[in-house]
């Protein structure tokens, strides 16, 4: 019996000395393994009487159970100590160090163009792509700009040696779009609703506010009963969506060959809200988009009977919009190809 007590004390000592799980396992094998000290006690029972066997055996089993339990406890404890040690070793990282923001970027025109496209897509407009090199017919003739109109003077338009030209206005796409969707309008009553963003070119000297290459977006809608009232509604809706607020608009008569009546559309100045400031030249209004009811000649040229159908069209300067939205002062930054300037537009919404 003393042996049992001695062994138990010795086991406790050994157990206390274990500093990791490997050592602990060794203690387990030393005492509880097949050749372990406690197991050995059972083997040495042969010499004892049956009665002694019974009581000694019970004591050894008790010790065995006790030892197993103590080992379990020690495992838990060692694990806890190990985690504590791990935590103690972990430094506090300086999360306040500057974040790495390296990532790609969109061109600002892409961003405003997407904003505008999404607004119109949500209203069921198609988005049309159109070439940059067009014919005189596409750019002028088909949109009611007769031969002697000043817009056709050499100084405004880039002509190519083959007689084609770099489109000076997105209106160059009008005729093709009317023709593309006219059949569906006439046969199935599907209204023509299209926007056509694109790069335009004007042969002029560049400075901080003039570029020879810039983006416009034009839109039009043609159906049986499209009215001026509809036009004002769409303009107001579009611009309220673009600027994410309820904008006030006003229309003034404006002369553009491809519309009749034609309008200049102003919005109340976004900077001063209409009070008058330097940005709006103290008028409270910003001239933003030319628009109007599509000229009967333009419809006719597109194969659509102006007595049966009416439509509105509008233009929006995407380049100007991007400059307004991001407060870009020099228009030339947009085509500069400089990543210092253009890598800042990282998000698409």
């Amino acid at each position: 019996m003393d042996k049992i007590r001695e062994l138990r004390e010795e086991f406790e000592q050994k157990l206390a000395q274990t500093s990791d799980l490997a050592l602990l396992d060794k203690v387990r094998v030393d005492y509880l393994g097949k050749k372990g000290s406690i197991t050995a006690l059972l083997k040495g029972m042969k010499e004892l009487s049956n009665e002694q066997k019974k009581s000694f055996g019970a004591e050894v089993n008790k010790l065995k159970g006790y030892a197993a339990k103590r080992i379990e406890e020690r495992v838990e404890e060692l694990r806890r100590l190990e985690t504590e040690r791990e935590i103690a070793l972990m430094p506090r990282f300086d999360i306040t160090a500057p974040a790495d923001l390296t990532r790609g970027s969109y061109h600002p025109i892409t961003l405003v163009q997407r904003q505008c496209e999404n607004i119109f897509k949500s209203m069921g407009f198609t988005v049309e792509d159109y070439p940059e090199v067009v014919t005189d017919y596409e750019c002028f003739e088909s949109v009611n700009i007769p031969k002697h109109h000043p817009a056709r003077d050499m100084q405004d338009t880039y002509y190519l040696t083959n007689g084609q030209l770099l489109k000076s206005q997105t209106s160059a796409a009008q005729n093709a779009i009317l023709k593309k969707y006219g059949k569906n309008l006439k046969e199935n009553g599907v209204p023509i609703k299209a926007i056509f963003p694109g790069r335009c070119f004007r042969n002029e000297a560049t400075d901080a506010s003039h570029e020879n290459t810039f983006f416009q977006m034009e839109g039009m809608m043609v159906d049986r009963d499209i009215s001026i009232s509809n036009l004002i509604f769409f303009m107001k809706t579009m611009l309220s969506e673009v600027f994410q607020r309820d904008v006030k608009v006003r229309l003034r008569p404006g002369f553009f060959p491809f519309v009749e009546p034609g309008f200049e559309l102003d919005i109340n100045c976004l900077i001063c809200g209409g009070e008058g400031c330097a940005s709006c030249k103290h008028s409270g209004w910003l001239e933003l988009c030319p628009c109007g009811m599509i000229h009967p000649n333009v419809l006719r040229e597109g194969g659509i009977d102006p007595d049966e159908y009416t439509g509105f069209a509008f233009g929006l300067g995407l380049t100007r919009l991007a400059m307004m939205e991001y407060k870009i002062k020099d228009i030339r930054d947009l085509n500069s190809g400089s990543l210092k300037a253009l890598s800042q537009f990282t998000d698409d919404e």
Binding site: R103, D129, Y159, Q164, P191, N230, T310, G337
Partner: protein, 788 residues
């Protein structure tokens, strides 16, 4: 163009109305008014008529005079005055003590030892002309002490209309036309012009006149004698000055006044120089001196007014120096004419000489105006110079008449176009107020367009809509959405791809989207040693640096890379833009929309960069098309392409673009230490390949099995060649083959390829896998790829 509210008020009674509000309405309904409105005379008060009773020289000053002036009060006023034109008996403008001139309040003041109790004023000081040579000389018989503002129109509201917004409105180039708009807006009647009856002179001899060129539509003239008046009436001079014109002399002022009033330019010739008026063009160019003294080159397209065969004026632009009114002129010939608008505009551009007259003629003036203008001129002439005598009959050649424009439309047409309800009465009233003749019967309108709107402006029913709605006011429109039926909308495939590609390149690969110009940058390319390749050119580029349209975007991007060296050690740029790659049979440009991507790196090996670019394109293609790309070695065709590493990109067997490494010659000029790779993809060709769909592979419940082989690969054998060796051997259980390791020496190239097998039906046996691999290894041996 500046406009005077006083002048407008001659023709429409606007009393009791808010003038500023009317101007605002005009801006919204007719033409854009510039922001600043000028309240003339508002800073002037207390100026009266004074008569100089005595003039004494100042004892010490040579310039100053001591005056006593009568301003109608009991006592004469002592004034010190420095003007050179003082004399006894002269009447002038006098600022009393307490008067306001701008910011200055007049008070008694010591001047060189004498007290001056007020100030004699020059016209410039009062702001009614720019004459500051002396004090104002008043010749009208006005009692002393009369407030100057009560006799002269010093108080006025002047506003400026943007000329561009009048481009299509020839009728608005004079105050009378503007007054018509104000009358319509205010709902008040427009007064008729006071004119002389010209038929009274029918018995007088006619002027010898013949139009010999169709570019002259109408030519009216009248001869007048015995004009004595030299200086124009004060009010006329004030109006001219407020409207931006300088007073010259009575006759010149009167023609200008007429032009500003009616929009009809007029010209006065010395009758001695125009005995035989002919209007024509000359076959041979010559030099002609205009009345401003400038010699101008006249060509065969320029219409001239001539005396017989001697040119005396450039039609519609400017008179000649030789035929001008001079001091000894006794008889003058007054011209009032209409010419072809486009011809005048072209001549103006050719001569680079734009005048107040040509500006108006360019807008297609109403030919009906010419004789009315003469009748009005005569009315004013007689009013201000009663001795003037008409010595000819009105001589009037009317060669080209515009057709009368008659329009017919229904109420339903107006409703449909406007989208709102405007009643018949409003329509009729509006059109009548603008001078249209209107009759309405059973909701059908018959309209006759007035001549001054019928030269080009109002020709069809849609034009009538504008007339009705602009006066109705767009601010008053009730707005609503359309009633059009809804149909689904399909996105254009190229456009859809473009947006997706941008997102992948920006969001996944951190590339930057840049924009560029569509022409080749000569100077920038030269610096990189890239010759500009011959392509279609601009006919009228003002800058030779941008003359040729580009045939590829890669040179553009290489220039952009050069611009950005130093921005970061690694970056990638892309753009979806246009190129012209050639001409069609019909000599039209073959324009293509391309995606161009260029990567630049100082930290990565060129091979790694090249493969990174390939992976980007592969991911784009897999994302959008669910297809894989192939590559075929390409022969370099451009100076910037690497002779060894250049490939055609193939999608479904079709060439859609190029990928390559930059030629070291060019690369070194950009950055000696960086790797640069590029790719260009034809967006339409890419879109044209049909999209495959995602084929869902159910995950296997059975364990997969990998089989690695290490092989030695001879030079020139590509992975694509090896892939053919297992393409047809997989028996449905070979799922993929990848390079997991490679080992290279100068003479030796080895790769470890891992084959992955799996089946959805059973656990694979090593035998069946081994069988396949044996076949693969045998195939590889055929192309000299051997196990290591």
């Amino acid at each position: 163009m500046f406009l005077s509210m006083n002048w407008i008020s001659d023709f429409v009674d606007l009393s009791g109305l808010d003038k500023q509000e009317l101007i605002r309405q005009f801006s919204l309904s007719t033409a854009e008014v510039e922001n600043d409105i000028f309240f003339k005379g508002s800073d002037i008060s207390g100026i009266v008529v004074a008569e100089i009773k005595s003039v004494e020289n100042h004892p010490e000053s040579k310039k100053l005079h001591l005056l006593k002036v009568d301003i109608g009060s009991d006592e004469l006023i002592d004034v010190v005055c420095g003007a050179p034109n003082v004399r006894v008996g002269m009447k002038t403008a006098f600022a009393k003590v307490g008067a306001q001139i701008g910011d200055i309040t007049i008070a008694p003041r010591k001047l060189a030892g004498f007290t001056s109790n007020g100030m004699c004023c020059g016209e410039a000081e009062i702001g009614i002309s720019d004459d500051n040579s002396g004090i104002m000389e008043i010749t009208d018989d006005i009692p002393n002490g009369t407030d100057l503002k009560s006799v002269y129109e010093i108080d006025d509201i002047v506003f400026e209309v943007d000329n561009k917004s009048l481009t299509n409105r020839p009728d608005l180039w004079g105050h009378y036309g503007i007054a018509r708009e104000f009358a319509a807006l205010a709902g008040r009647p427009l007064k008729p012009l006071d004119t002389e009856d010209l038929t009274a002179f029918d018995s007088l001899p006619k002027v010898d006149l013949r139009i010999e060129d169709p570019l002259c539509y109408r030519y009216s003239c009248l001869q007048v004698e015995n004009i004595k008046r030299g200086i124009s009436p004060v009010n006329m001079r004030i109006r001219l000055y407020y409207c931006g014109m300088r007073a010259i002399n009575f006759l010149a002022d009167l023609t200008n006044y007429l032009m500003l009033e009616m929009g009809q330019p007029m010209h006065a010739f010395d009758s001695r120089k125009v005995g035989k008026i002919r209007i024509k063009r000359f076959e041979k160019p010559f030099v002609f001196q205009t009345l401003d003294g400038v010699e101008r080159n006249i060509d065969e397209n320029t219409l001239m007014i001539c005396n017989g065969d001697t040119p005396v004026a450039i039609a519609g632009i400017m008179g000649g120096l030789d035929s001008e009114i001079v001091d000894d002129t006794t008889t003058l010939t007054l011209e009032s004419a209409t010419f072809d608008a486009a011809s005048i505009r072209k001549s103006t551009v050719r001569l680079a000489h734009r005048t107040d007259a040509s500006m108006r003629y360019e807008k297609s003036l109403d030919p009906e105006l010419t004789d009315v203008a003469i009748a009005r001129f005569l009315n004013l002439l007689k009013k201000y110079d009663s001795g003037a005598v008409v010595v000819s009959a009105l001589t009037d050649e009317y060669a080209f008449r515009y057709d009368t424009v008659e329009l017919n439309f229904t109420k339903a047409f107006v409703d449909r176009y406007t989208g709102i309800e405007i009643d018949n009465e409003t329509i009729v009233k509006t059109l009548q107020s603008l001078g249209f003749k209107v009759s309405v019967d059973n909701d059908t309108f018959d309209v006759v367009v007035p001549s001054w709107r019928a030269t080009k402006d109002v020709t069809m029913n849609a034009d009538i809509i504008e007339e009705i709605t602009r006066i109705y006011g767009y601010d008053n429109f009730e707005i609503h959405t359309t009633r059009s039926p809804l149909y689904p909308v399909r996105m254009d495939e190229v456009k859809r791809n473009e947006e997706k590609i941008k997102d992948i390149l920006v969001k996944r690969y951190s590339l930057h989207e840049l924009h560029s110009y569509v022409w080749a940058y000569y100077d920038e390319l030269k610096a990189l040693g890239i010759p500009v390749e011959d392509n279609i050119r601009l006919l009228n580029a003002t800058n030779p640096n941008i003359e040729t349209i580009r045939n590829s975007m890669i040179p553009t991007q290489l220039c952009q890379v050069k611009t950005n060296v130093g921005y970061a050690p690694d970056f990638g740029i892309f753009e979806v833009g246009r190129v012209v790659t050639g001409m069609t049979e019909d000599d039209l440009c073959v324009e293509k929309k391309m995606l161009a991507v260029t990567l630049y790196s100082k930290t990565r090996e060129v091979k790694e960069l090249y493969f990174a670019l390939r992976d980007m394109l592969a991911v784009i293609t897999d994302d959008i098309k669910h297809r894989a790309l192939d590559f075929a070695a390409a022969e370099p065709a451009h100076s910037y392409e690497h002779p060894v590493n250049l490939n055609t990109i193939l999608l479904d067997g079709k060439a859609i673009g190029t990928i390559g490494i930059v030629h070291p010659n060019v690369g070194k000029k950009i950055d000696k230490k960086a790797a640069i790779v590029f790719a260009e993809v034809d967006m339409q060709a890419f879109a044209d390949v049909e999209n495959a769909s995602i084929v869902y592979a159910e995950p296997s419940k059975f364990p997969p099995m990998d089989y690695d082989i290490s092989v030695v690969i001879p030079k020139g054998v590509l992975f694509a060649d090896m892939a053919k060796c297992w393409k047809n051997e997989g028996k449905g259980i070979l799922k993929s083959a990848k390079v997991v390791d490679s080992y290279n020496t100068e003479t030796f190239h080895s790769e470890t390829i891992r084959f992955e097998f799996s089946s959805n039906e059973r656990t694979l046996s090593s035998n069946e896998v081994q069988e396949i691999m044996d076949a693969v290894i045998a195939n590889l041996k055929e192309i000299d790829v051997k196990l290591r």
